[in-house]
């Protein structure tokens, strides 16, 4: 059972090999803005999950639409998002694992990754994928979420998520009604559990990194350039792989805010749709119940009448056959919207913290002495 094995030794952290980080980045940036998905292999040691290798899932080819299952009818984005569960990919995954096993790569599946933009990843698809992985095998799987657009702003954005046991339990039952939510006390905060991620290098890689010339050069005497053009063409300066990354000092504010507002609006819209659904349900439920009550009263009166006439009373629970109560819409989507908005809010918080620091820095620099 899922819950049992999770309780045994819960996963506490995720460790990713540098190789996997690079592969995910490469795959994600190549397919951007379509989300990229792939499979993670590795092993779990006690409470640590080690991701040691990855391979991408094939981007589903639209031409295959006639032969494949329903996912292939959708647009590119949802197509890619559904890839981890697509039937064709299960075979691909199995064969790939078999192949890498032959060259001594850890062949235990430990999850999947997806790339996203601006933290916009909480969706039914994401939940279904992770549920698919967390339900199968021995359950120790994570979803790595790589944010392409935030990474281009300077700092690597790679997060590991798991579904919480309480959410898994609820999802297994497939019931997200008001009643069940009250009982399980499930909140949107409880859907995903984030795990700390750390990057790990192999010994060989460490050796290799030490060998690459570092920037800025150590404080030894350097030869002076003879001319300006030599300075600008010096290969040591222009193409150093480990030069300090100053992207995070970039001061671009408006695109980020614009995108965030767009996404927030989308979320609000979704939320409203869900609300409308819920209201519609409530109204039709009230209507049906009123009808039932009417019927019951009528039946009671009839029975009183029949009792006076010494006839056998008619059954009073026949209404269950006559009336059908409307199905309550699933509240899952509104939970997810809540979670998604929380994600945006946190993201904006982080952004405003960074950006206001930078802004004051710029202001202090351009207006010396006027800093309030």
């Amino acid at each position: 059972m899922a819950e049992v094995s999770i309780k045994d030794t819960p996963l506490k952290e995720v460790q990713i090999e540098a190789l996997c980080v690079m592969r995910i980045i490469k795959h994600a940036t190549q397919t951007f803005p379509t989300p990229a998905t792939g499979f993670l292999t590795g092993m779990d040691i006690n409470s640590q999950l080690q991701v040691t290798n990855t391979f991408p899932f094939p981007a589903a080819v639209p031409e295959a639409s006639t032969t494949q299952d329903q996912y292939y009818q959708a647009d590119a984005a949802s197509l890619a998002a559904a890839a981890p569960r697509a039937k064709s990919n299960v075979g691909y995954q199995a064969e790939m694992i078999k192949m890498v096993k032959e060259v001594n790569v850890d062949a235990q599946g430990v999850g999947w990754y997806i790339s996203t933009s601006m933290g916009n990843f909480v969706s039914q698809n994401f939940i279904e994928n992770q549920f698919f992985f967390q339900r199968a095998a021995d359950e120790k799987t994570v979803a790595l979420v790589f944010d392409v657009s935030r990474t281009s702003q300077g700092s690597l954005s790679l997060k590991a998520y798991r579904l919480s046991p309480s959410f898994i339990a609820a999802y297994k039952e497939g019931k997200f009604t008001t009643e069940s939510l009250q009982k399980s006390n499930l909140r949107y905060q409880d859907i995903l559990v984030e795990l700390p991620v750390q990057v790990h290098n192999s010994h060989l890689l460490t050796a290799f990194l030490h060998q690459i010339p570092q920037q800025p050069p150590q404080k030894t005497a350097l030869d002076f350039p003879t001319s300006l053009s030599e300075l600008s063409h010096d290969p040591n300066i222009s193409s150093n792989p480990l030069a300090p990354n100053l992207d995070s000092l970039d001061l671009s504010i408006d695109p980020f805010l614009e995108k965030t507002c767009d996404l927030l609006l989308d979320s609000i819209e979704n939320h409203q749709t869900e609300q409308n659904n819920a209201q519609y349900y409530q109204r039709s439920l009230a209507r049906e119940q009123a009808k039932i009550q009417q019927w019951q009263q009528k039946r009671k009166q009839e029975n009183v009448l029949r009792a006076q006439q010494k006839q056998t009373p008619l059954p009073e629970d026949e209404w269950q056959k006559l009336f059908k109560l409307p199905q309550e819409p699933s509240r899952l989507e509104s939970l997810l919207v809540g979670r998604q908005v929380e994600q945006y809010a946190r993201q904006v918080d982080g952004f405003s913290a960074v950006v206001s620091g930078k802004m004051f820095g710029v202001k202090g620099n351009l207006l010396p002495g006027e800093l309030a």
Partner: protein
Amino acid sequence: MGDNNFLHLARPLAPAAVSAAAPSTAPVSVTVQPQALFSILDHASRRPAEQERVIGTLLGTRSEDGTEVEIRNCYAVPHTETAEQVEVDMDYQKRMLELHLKAAPKEVLIGWYATSSELNTFSALIQNFYSQQGEGTFPHPAVHLTVSTIAGQDVKADTYISAPIGVTAERAADSCLFIPVPHEIKYGEAEKSGLELIAGARDREDRSQLLQTDIETLERAIEQVLEMLERVSNYVSNVLDEEAEPSSALGQFLMNTLSLAPKVDPESIEKDFNNHIQDVLLVSYLANTIRTQIDLSNRLATAALTMGSGDGNNANAEQKGERKDRQQNQRQGAGQGGRRGEQ
């Protein structure tokens, strides 16, 4: 003179001749992406204990004229090597290539790698296998990348292409001339932050590093800039004090850099600053308000029933929540307008 007296000579193609003469198929520059190198290093550390070197296939892209090759990906291919013979699992190579092409159709077979810088007869054999017609890279020569992984020595990468050599057909099959070609390691923009993090773990004992938050990255970047500025200003003051040797090129460069500082009047800076900082704070405030509102509305939707009231109330509560949400938004809008008006 007899008509049929000819001496046949097979001349190896020298690199100069190849690139100078008619359009050539030889790559003149090879670019290696870091993930391919990382993958090779990973493979090297996973090799069977008794095996000296392991090999694998390189995938990537080739420019139209075949002169530029970019190695983007690679995968390991099992092989066994003894003093007398070498065995490469060709079936594995073929199937793996198919699988890779499925996921990344744009990447083509480029060549192969080995985790030792030695070039021997077997290298030639494998090289000829990879550059053969049909399944190989023909008409382009296969690129051979060697990455030496001997303990105690530097990790050294070399790239080669090959030219056929040998007088007879049998000899030609297991010999070829490896021609070194220049290569460079290049990374993309997005990989920069990944590499930076990986490099950050370089000096640590446990070889691992936790992912950093934005603000930590910013802090580090600022520290680095400060350090560099200090170095430069140290140098400049040393030159002024006639303690360090001046360099006109450096001076020119510094002048050029300084002239990049924008000239803007304080008022417009003040205005832009206020505008932007208010935008940022506003969006952050809005996002959090929306989050609270949605949370509230969700809670009201599920909580009303526990209070024992009827379904009608529940719907009302929901409606109320929603309306509040909208009102709040309107208030925000008004606030924004007001604040903009102030300036």
